[in-house]
């Protein structure tokens, strides 16, 4: 497909490493404990983590090779996430 998936959360590299090992993920996981990128993307969900930590709200962005957003999903209900099919459809439109 030629699309590089990148997962971003406030988890530490160690926590993400454990998750990747457990779930068998081989793509890039980035750690944003200080919410630098999460804040820049205006995705901070204040006080939702354990002990009232700030975390990211779920969101997906598909960027083309120039870094321009071509598709995005900001869910209105955190149980509802983008489906693989939605992302594949968006990725097909990228060529």
């Amino acid at each position: 497909m030629g699309i590089r998936p990148v997962a971003i959360s406030v988890d530490s590299p160690q926590e993400s490493r454990d998750l990747c090992q457990k779930a068998g993920y081989t793509f890039t996981f980035l750690s944003d404990p200080n919410l630098e990128a999460i804040r820049r993307y205006d995705l901070v969900h204040a006080g939702q983590g354990i002990n009232g930590h700030d975390i990211a709200r779920p969101a997906e962005f598909l960027l083309d090779s120039s870094g321009t957003v071509r598709w995005r999903m900001l869910t209105e209900n955190y149980w509802v996430r983008a489906t693989p099919q939605q992302i594949l459809d968006a990725a097909k439109a990228l060529r």
């Binding site: 030629g2 959360s9 926590e15 993307y41 354990i50 969101a59 120039s66």
Partner: protein, 159 residues
Amino acid sequence: MKIQRFNWQIWTGFVLSIFAFLSYPLVFVNWPVTRNFPWANLLLFAIAALLLFIGVRRAFAPDRRRISKIVSSVLATLSVLVLGMFIFVAFVASKWLPASTGAPQVGQKAPDFTLVDTNDKSVSLSELLSSPIKSVPPASTGGPRAPKGVLLIFYRGYW
């Protein structure tokens, strides 16, 4: 005094409504088809409600003792509370999300960032956009190439 038969409907209905609640975060959340809309859980609640209804009717039959009327009322009330809690968790509290009006729009350039990956290595978005994907093999296509795009997945994490 005649022996009263165990009112299994009321107890099954009660246990089932607790299961209907817990099975959403523990089981049905794993598949988008049962997660995006919790129809499986609502179906379980519907079955529980039917059992509770039958159970309460049984308990309020003239030949039942007063204790069974009390127990069935309490269990039915608790079940309704469990359903209310489920509706709150699945449909109300889950929508309390930030507006994110400043999030990059379609057509806008995604802001660059530099973060640490699982190998404790710093990675920037511009590198992710330009560095070749190694898992794309065939030499016939000219070997590893830069990705056609990058999918950024922000998630809540496990903290």
